[in-house]
């Protein structure tokens, strides 16, 4: 369970370019729930995700995962509980390492790393079986440098890597945004499958309202650094993109054009 309470963060305080990225952002995600997060440019979705992962320190507020206070933990200290897939397909893997070495790295996420060989034969077979489920023919290329794969293939492997080791929270940061539509659909389908298979508590930031409604059980909309809309269950089932837009206007009392949300 993720419990973020009253997060506040201001970039460049006291300067003309001061930006209040988070203004009392609070969100609770119960164990096993798949939440999608949308919002326009500068709404604070990426900042919030970075705050939860630890890449961005907050000015105030607390972040708890399953009751453990993570607010002051560095990124590597949270890794035991938090798995993450980045927006940039190149960011989630080490291009100089082989596919199996990347997977071995993820297999030990948050664990003490010792002096035994990282890729043992038994582990290699496990990786081979795992990667075969992608249906991309990568099972015979385990010792290839991952830099040789396409962005979509690397993103699919990143997703697989995120689930190699149990986590209390999976963070997906617009992880299909940089892919072509067909690959994006494939990676999204894979996401849904992996999340269901491992019953992962998931927060997916997305640029697409369509995607936000299609996957997961709950959708949260951010605006100006806090939650302005939170729909789930029956209410969410009947929703369409234009409903979401209407609701947004109603909540904020201002008009917003679709593009700003789609491109955000």
């Amino acid at each position: 369970m993720l419990k973020a309470t009253d997060l506040r963060l201001t970039f460049n305080p006291g300067t003309p370019i001061e930006t209040q990225a988070l203004r009392g952002m609070s969100l609770e995600i119960p164990t096993g729930q798949f939440v999608t997060v949308i919002g326009s440019n500068g709404a604070g979705k990426s900042t919030f995700l970075n705050a939860v992962s630890g890449e961005q320190k907050v000015d105030s507020g607390t972040i708890e995962i399953d009751g453990i206070d993570m607010t002051r933990q560095p990124v590597w200290g949270r890794a035991r509980h938090v798995a993450r897939v980045f927006q940039d397909p190149l960011a989630g893997t080490c291009e100089d390492l082989t596919i199996e070495e990347n997977m071995a790295l993820a297999k030990m996420r948050g664990e003490r790393r010792g002096f035994s060989f990282a890729v043992k034969p038994a582990l290699r077979e496990e990786f081979r079986a795992q990667i075969a489920t992608l249906g991309l023919g990568l099972e015979n290329r385990l010792s290839d440098r991952i830099g040789l794969l396409s962005g979509g293939q690397r993103q699919a492997v990143s997703l697989l890597m995120a689930a190699l080791q149990p986590s209390r929270l999976l963070l997906l940061d617009e992880h299909t945004a940089a892919l072509d539509p067909r690959t994006a659909a494939f990676v999204l389908e894979l996401t849904v499958r992996i999340v269901a298979e491992h019953k992962l508590t998931t927060m997916m930031v997305t640029h697409s309202m369509r995607q936000a409604l299609d996957v997961g059980q709950r959708t949260v909309m951010l605006h100006q650094g806090r939650v302005v809309l939170d729909v789930s269950g029956k209410e969410r089932e009947g929703l369409d993109v234009h409903h979401l837009l209407d609701m947004f206007e109603k909540v904020r009392g201002e008009k917003i054009d679709d593009d700003a949300l789609l491109l955000g």
């Binding site: 992962s53 890449e55 560095p74 990124v75 590597w76 200290g77 890794a79 035991r80 993450r84 980045f86 960011a91 989630g92 893997t93 080490c94 291009e95 100089d96 390492l97 070495e101 071995a104 790295l105 993820a106 030990m108 996420r109 948050g110 664990e111 790393r113 010792g114 002096f115 035994s116 060989f117 990282a118 890729v119 440098r145």
Partner: protein, 296 residues
Amino acid sequence: MSLYTLLGALEIGLIFSLVALGVYISFRLLRFPDLTVDGSFPLGGAVAATMIAAGHDPFTATIAATLAGAIAGLITGWLNVSLKIMDLLASILMMIALYSINLRIMGKPNVPLITEPTVFNLLQPEALADYVFRPLLLVFVVLAVKLALDGFFATQSGLAIRATGSNARMARAQGVNTGMAILAGMALSNALVGLAGALFAQTQGGADISMGVGTIVIGLAAVIVGESLLPSRKLYLATIAVIVGAIVYRFFIALALNSDFIGLQAQDLNLVTAVLVTVALVVPRLRAHWSGKRVS
């Protein structure tokens, strides 16, 4: 070129292949431009020579020199990781600090080792001449170091260090304490350089305060020459390439300086190095150009 000069070149080439392996770890695996080696090489020599001259066992002295190098690397890493000083600058600071430290250790600008025991003359069998035995022993040392490095960088900890250099953000997201990984990598890198300095002092008749000048250039030259001779991303091939690079580099230097018809002399050493590195940098591009491929 006589057999004597040939074996001499091999001997120095093998010693500098340890430097080159260290430079490979910092520059290539960690992507940390580390000039500390110009200080940690003479540091290794100073510690070993001073201890041997004071009557200590040469093996203990060599191990102490290796540890001294590791500490120098640790401090450079600490300046970068904890004090947030830019990597290159941190290593330059450490390099100039080591100049004074080395003078302090030796107490004078040089410590000769003429009649004192060294790891080489202690192990040398009666049947072999010293100039044959030294390169022979070094081959074993370098091979052992290479295999140990290959093994280490295939372990979970070694992988964490490589991941830190390749993609620090991803490494942190996988729970790697990247600061510690940099410290460990820098310590390992400079330990090898310290070891090389200790062996160099014991083969060249002592340590000298100026023995470190240009060490980084020689190390980088070896890495670059090796990579252009044997381009490979596989670690066990890359470490071979680096060792071969260091030896080839020394052979070219010896060839250039010992061929009377070229007319080069000892003071032309740095010029020859610069030309050699330039050639090594250009050849891969030309090769790619001829085979019709583009290089980035």
